[in-house]
Amino acid sequence: MNSRESILQAIRKLPKEEKNLPELPEFGNNSDLLAEFCEAITRNAGEVLLSEEFKKWMNENPLEKVISLVAAYSSYSTQAIPEDPHALDSLDLAIVEAQFGVAENGAMWLDEASLSHRVLPFIAEHLVIVLRRTHLFPTLHQAYAQLQGTSTGFGVFVAGPSKTADIEQSLVIGAQGAKSLRVVLVD
């Protein structure tokens, strides 16, 4: 008997107990999703900007290597998307669009279809996520209801910049992923 069979057999021979799978109730309310979202991003050490503020920041902080996958900001791109993701190593900034955000924790869903390379939002030194202010859900429950039926090969909730507290519990922003996160709210 192979291991697959022996594991399944070991489970099957146990006495069966009927335990129901609970249905999930509705949680969360729609009070002020935008305010809650902004507060969550700030708590996660990210920053929320309006489009004008973002443009100003880009002008004041010229970066050498930028890839924008968002049409409205395509003029900021300084290079084409490489074929090999390893070539993204020295990328200063990636600008990508989230499909939606979650107010309770600031998490934003990035489908791989909007990333060109799965590693893009992680490998870039700095990350900008563009989000429609109306595309907000109160909690992860509504977010997963939205995702029901989609079958992307890879998707990720990003809620802030990469961080660690592994040295004496001191919070350090910028561990192995992007060192900063800016969320640009658009209409």
Binding site: I11, P22, E104, T152, I167, A175
Partner: protein, 452 residues
């Protein structure tokens, strides 16, 4: 493995022990704040517990469903009955890819299987890519906490270590500076690794996908640059539906560190074009634990570490004192199932205060299971020092004469005997505790004199 002895060694450095205690309590505090922000917190715990109970009651069905969906998605699925088979499967994949160096993100399962030493023996270099794990790996130590691997170390030690290993400035203890140095060091490893290994937080039977949560982004940096992603998953990590993630991801980070969610929650359903994902489903004692009705619910654990942060014993004895991959209260009910003899002292490393049960996001009755293990271990061991004392006490309390006489003798003895005799190693309760001052008279003597 002897918990009291190892704990005594940890407590020798009083300043460090106090720091450890306070730091973990601080994390527990953050968990409280985060949980109280959600009015539905208790409902979520109940849901999470019920979902896991249900899944465990039909684990064969969900495993098969998960496998079927994962295969449809192009994931290669392997089954391992124990640690050895798991390690062999990993090695075979590495050999077929002619891979000599790999990156690995946090995976308690691979620690449990002792994968690193096995691979190193076979000539493969493993780089743990989580900062805390890299630190303990440099020191040749296991993690001392499942979420905070290097919580037992001070920044001075890490600065010295990085000076030696990564060439950082001598004496520079700034956590930001040290983290930056590790970032540069690990970046190079990510860029050159052909294979990346991760653990799995949740496997979803409905879709055949799995979810990996990190704050550092190290798991994603590894797998999206590698040709092969090997995901190692305990069979109890299955949940039925994608929407169940809403319940578990809301509980996990809040319970672990007080964050509302980890920075990255990555959902893997199929490999990149031309690349491979291998998923290894590991038993290694889990079906045996499932068959023990008293302890089966320990398999509901989602590895948040909240029970460790709250435990008065864990905080004051350190993760290494448990000598098991998963330390703390949850480790003390899981490990005896793996090796009762080796881990026989762990269920006693508890005050049975029940705080672990109170904070557990999936409502495992940890302290009751600790108590149940004690019954089994005591029965198996027979005679013990404490048991003898209890028998003696029973004799004294059942005979009024013995009670009166022994009271007098003990009061006199406590006053006149030297401490070296009172706190003799035979008196287990005298360890780390002061005996009370003996009163001048018994209560009945006092009553006779004052009230009669």
């Amino acid at each position: 493995m002897n918990h009291p002895q190892a704990a005594a060694a940890f407590l020798k450095d009083q300043a460090r022990a106090s720091w450890h205690d306070e730091t973990l309590w601080y994390v527990r505090d953050k968990r409280d704040v985060a949980s109280k922000r959600l009015p539905e917190w208790e409902d979520l715990r109940t849901l999470a517990s019920d979902i896991k109970e249900h899944t465990l009651s039909q684990l064969d069905y969900y495993l098969e469903k998960f496998e079927e969906k994962a295969l449809e998605n192009g994931i290669r699925v392997h089954w391992a009955k124990d640690a050895e088979e798991h390690n062999q499967i990993v090695l075979q994949i590495l050999q077929s890819k002619e891979c000599k160096a790999l990156v690995k993100s946090k995976s308690i399962l691979t620690e449990e299987c002792h994968l690193n030493p096995f691979l190193e023996k076979n000539g493969i270099a493993v780089v743990d890519s989580d900062l805390g794990e890299r630190i303990v790996q440099f020191l040749n130590q296991p993690p001392s906490h499942i979420v905070l691997p290097a919580i037992h170390l001070k920044k001075k030690e890490i600065a010295e270590l990085f000076h030696e290993k990564l060439g950082t400035e001598k004496g520079n203890e700034d956590p930001k500076y040290l983290t930056d140095a590790a970032r540069i060091h690990l970046r190079e490893k990510f860029l050159s690794a052909k294979v990346a290994i991760t653990g799995v937080n949740f496997g979803i039977a409905e879709t055949g996908e799995f979810v990996v949560c990190t704050n550092e982004g190290n798991a994603d940096m590894g797998v999206h640059l590698a040709e092969v992603h090997i995901a190692c998953m305990g069979i109890e990590k299955i949940i039925p539906r994608r929407k169940d993630l809403g319940v578990f991801l809301r509980l996990l980070a809040r319970s672990a560190t007080g964050q509302s969610i980890t920075t990255y929650s990555s959902h893997f359903r199929s490999p990149r074009k031309g690349k491979e994902i291998h998923l290894i489903l590991v038993d290694n004692g889990r079906t045996a634990q499932l068959s023990r009705s008293t302890y089966r619910s320990s398999l509901k654990c989602i590895r948040c570490g909240a029970c460790m942060n709250t435990c008065p014993i864990y905080r004051r004895s350190g993760g290494f004192s448990y000598g098991s991959t998963v330390p703390g209260p949850i480790g003390s009910i899981l490990s005896p199932g793996l090796d009762l003899k080796k881990y026989s002292t762990l269920p006693f490393a508890s005050t049975l205060c029940g705080s672990c049960t109170d904070v557990c996001p999936v409502k495992i009755n940890i302290h009751e299971q600790l108590y149940a293990w004690r019954q089994e271990i005591t029965k198996a061991q027979g005679w013990s020092g404490k048991e003898l004392s209890i028998k003696l006490a029973k004799g004294i309390f059942t005979s009024p004469l013995a009670y009166r006489v022994s009271g007098k003798i003990l009061r006199a003895a406590l006053k006149s005997l030297p401490n070296s005799l009172i706190y003799h190693p035979v008196n287990l309760w005298g360890k780390g505790r002061d005996l009370p001052q003996a009163p001048a008279s018994t209560f009945s003597e006092w009553y006779q004199k004052n009230r009669s």
